[in-house]
Symmetry: C2
Subunit: 284 residues, 2 copies
Amino acid sequence: MRTYLDCYPCFLNQALRAARIATDDEAKIKRVLDEVGMMLKEIPLDSTPPESGRLIYRKISEITENIDPYRKIKKESTEKALSLYPYLKSRVVASNDRLLMAIRIAIAGNVIDFGANWGFDWDTEVADTLEKEFALFDYDKFREKLDTAQKIVYLGDNAGECVFDKILIEEMKKPVVYVVRGAPIINDATRADAVQAGIDKVATIVSSGTDAPGTILDTCSTEFKALFHNSDFIISKGQGNYEALSHTSASRLIFFLLKVKCRVLARNIGVEEGGIVIQAGRDR
Amino acid sequence: MRTYLDCYPCFLNQALRAARIATDDEAKIKRVLDEVGMMLKEIPLDSTPPESGRLIYRKISEITENIDPYRKIKKESTEKALSLYPYLKSRVVASNDRLLMAIRIAIAGNVIDFGANWGFDWDTEVADTLEKEFALFDYDKFREKLDTAQKIVYLGDNAGECVFDKILIEEMKKPVVYVVRGAPIINDATRADAVQAGIDKVATIVSSGTDAPGTILDTCSTEFKALFHNSDFIISKGQGNYEALSHTSASRLIFFLLKVKCRVLARNIGVEEGGIVIQAGRDR
């Protein structure tokens, strides 16, 4: 997905929030705004938002001298998500389409986001997502493809969300490689976050090697790229992964599972803001 | 009032909205974002927001080659406000404190804002403001001072809002000099807007000479500054005028009438966002 005009003020808003989380020093926060302001002109409209997010959040870490400002928030998100696990699991057990309920839960976990979205209310958002009509619903294709899949590559998104992903992984009953970011970036899940969520009990955790808030293949390790291109069933969670992959030819290998969290993505994907989506990627 | 960290992303948001109103050319809008992004580092935290607004909106006009993008919006705002005039007047007539109701109406007119605030709903906002508790209420001082005033200097704010101001002017029954901006800036009222609202029927219209979205005295004409400093009763409408004057020694001459339209101002003035205010300015 390209960068839209609305992304530029959003980048600056995100920079302010992240800088405030990273430091209390007003002079440093002002420097973040100054520097990110100057970076905007270097961001072309045909780049993807995670490419810019990667540079912007690195700049924030550099100025605030805090390489992982979201560490505490991520840990708390996972703890909160773990406390919901028994309830979420009971929803699957009580459902007459367990796989679909598990997908809904995985998408509900996508509300945990400290990048574009902010100030969400967990309980309301999760409850809302479990009842919502799908805006895009390639579920039959998903189930069909899952039946013949030998192995699933599952691109994780945010810390905390991993707990919700675990429920879907358990329901799919196939070998899963769960992919995390290679370095801390916003509240995206790294290996430590996936392990805290218990993903290591149900899947093999691998790092994509990227330090971007989305699976930008150019920034991933050679090993991960080989894994990715040799897969026939990839689940991509969340907005950052969608933004990084939706326009590539690799998109045809992927099912995108996400909640649409801003109007820019809403316009790109063609659904209302807040919509929930299972979309089979197409050749681009 | 100083500039707060939250103002910087807001400047960029305003630039995007204004640029879109000024032109359909995406390349020009992108250039506005680039240039305003670069300007941010030049904005010191101890300047006032209207000082920066002045430079930013001028830059937008320059890039989009549109010196008055809000002209149509301003005209329509005044038409809409004129259609509400009979209703507003009837509320004054039916009130047991006509002056206070007229002040409420003048403040209700302050919801018309295409700068910091956006996407307001006229009817709801006006109705809400007419019933709301005041967050700051120096009304007794206002009435006392009005009793002995020989002449009132009334600093206008936005186009459309002038119609609401007219009702207060009619109720005060004193000679009024109504002050408009010297050049188009956002949707702020200029002489033409005040005349369209019928202010010329009830007051003498003068220009402050400024091209800023607030009465920044340094940018006003010598004539206006003489008028200002020789006044003993000044009414200042709206956020831009408050931001420009609240911290100056001249503040002691002024009654600030406004609706608090962002969290930055809320913090500065010490009331909740959305609060309505009659505040007697103090020596600073």
